[in-house]
Symmetry: D3
Subunit: 136 residues, 6 copies
């Protein structure tokens, strides 16, 4: 079993704002992240899959194919967009990095070839804050 | 003469949208960057000053003081905010990285101690796109 | 279960010197690291916790709170200090990166909220040498 | 148990070319990577071992010794060479990053001291593509 | 005047070998870099242009256009290729990083729009070795 | 004219302490950096030289030779040492990054081959603080 990781990037706006709370409560909990006019990030996304290298190619999966799947299922739906407003699979969810990583797992899992398994979604919000999700 | 650089970060939302143009023209020129619901970045800011090291301290300027000035004049006005909507010194300007670097120069220049000179504002929009401005 | 990591930094002096050994033996084993006048590093610390995202915030833990705990329990006791001389929780221990990571685990574990668990202490001594400790 | 990682680098040429296939088939599968005149990479190698810190040194293993073993068993046989033509332990194998990581594991495992275990070979082909192998 | 930089990457094989010298002399001067079977690198290329921001866009030059020009004039001719064998504009030249940077300048200069000037080609051979060329 | 840069590293202890001042004054000015028991850093050093590429080699200077000169004249005298106590060319100087960069220039300038000129010493104290010195 070998683990293969592809690193991708996307830029997005978001805010952390619980619609069930007052504005004061949102500011008390989320501070600057609750700014109603949004802020944003350069997200760095590491997608790790696992599988056996194919004897003919030496590949767990052709990394170009992995990159195309990530592009179509994830980046096209997030890049240069507003996570709260523009992204169908984030509707009704708090746009934390934790929830975004879980949602990206959900976007990717069913589109990978059967010979490989999704292992980890690692998502950097900034170079000093990141989350990892292993599907359970 | 020694050049001293302090690296800082801020996260902000913006869009590239010329209000004198139609939406189609904006999308034709700015593509995804014109998304009306905003996107955002982790900006990395390098502020370089120059001067002679003080004989008593060995410092061109105490880097903590430089960091405080950048914090008060720049980061407090940009971090976790919307460049187009929330920033007084960007009003009426296109929020390109070029214009933002020039504006940051304008914010900092007059607040530095007289013994040093502002040399360069280097601003990364992403790890692969950056601008430099030397004040002229 | 989601894993959340906060990256922090501290600068410290240390030496690798076993007081039960002669100076020659220390130099034979630790080489330049045994220099009696100390040397130092910019340590990079990754603290990873795990837990379920809170439904109201989307957070495993507010990363500002995690950063405050790391600041109070770890950075305030290590940053700009001498690991051998100034740090109570390193007294009587060899100041290797391995032992420092184990000690940082001990400092943090009991101060985290009960809803989360400490998962990993990853400590870089240089960009090319790092250790990881998982608490057992 | 503590995990210790040493990061090393090597530069090598390779191509992805299955000798059992026609040139067209190779180009269809491997694209630019099948260029018959080779291309190359700056590989970054992370070798992670695990063990208990020695009470006298605080070390899982002296990182200089680990680096010497990696140098002798791996880097001397890969650096500034052609993976397909010059490397005995890659003969008859597709020179994918996956297969190279597995082969590096095989080179290192038997040369480590008995007190430690090889835990992971992590190999970056580019900053955005890497594989990990845990020996099974 | 603002300076705008775009960072790009390409992977290539090369060797340092002076055809007017004996193999011994090449090995004496170039060491491992003279390996007749090639080695290779992940090159990182920084292209810096300068100009005045356009009042309508805020751009010195649309970075997507800059990236397309670099792609067509430079990357398409270098990426996943052999610098000594496959690149017309390196024929008859030693394939040092210095000469490659000068040649990339020559490839780009005449294809840039007249409103901007090429300022610097910065080329990393490895993360620890890079050259800069300013056109004279 | 081409500029060639070699990146090197060294680890050292230091403190910022003016012996002509009281301990209180030192603490008021230098804060944590005045800790009498020292602290330390992983310094990153960029040495840039300039010259014409040699027609036979394509090199401004063989980077291995540049690295050897830096090793002998700079790293051997700084690495794993105490800047205040162990370094002859820092005696009687404040051990600021500014003064250290100027002193490294002095160490290197006269040992470079006549065909090249020293252009810049760039010295990182941390990833967020660096100085540059151009010899005047």
């Amino acid at each position: 079993m070998v683990y293969l990781t592809r690193v991708e990037h996307f830029n997005a706006a978001h805010k952390l704002f619980n619609p069930g709370w007052s504005r004061q409560q949102n500011e008390a909990v989320f501070g600057k992240c609750a700014n109603e006019n949004w802020h944003g990030h350069n997200y760095e996304l590491h997608v790790t899959i696992k599988g056996e290298p194919d004897p003919d190619t030496g590949f767990v999966l052709d990394v170009k194919k992995l990159s195309e799947i990530i592009g179509r299922q994830v980046l096209d739906k997030l890049d240069h967009l507003n996570l709260n407003m523009d992204v169908d699979f984030m509707q009704g969810k708090m746009c934390s990095t934790e929830n975004l990583a879980i949602a990206i797992w959900g976007q990717l899992e069913r589109f990978l070839p059967v010979a490989v398994q999704l292992h980890c979604i690692k998502l950097y919000e900034t170079p000093r804050i990141f989350v990892e999700y292993y599907g359970r």
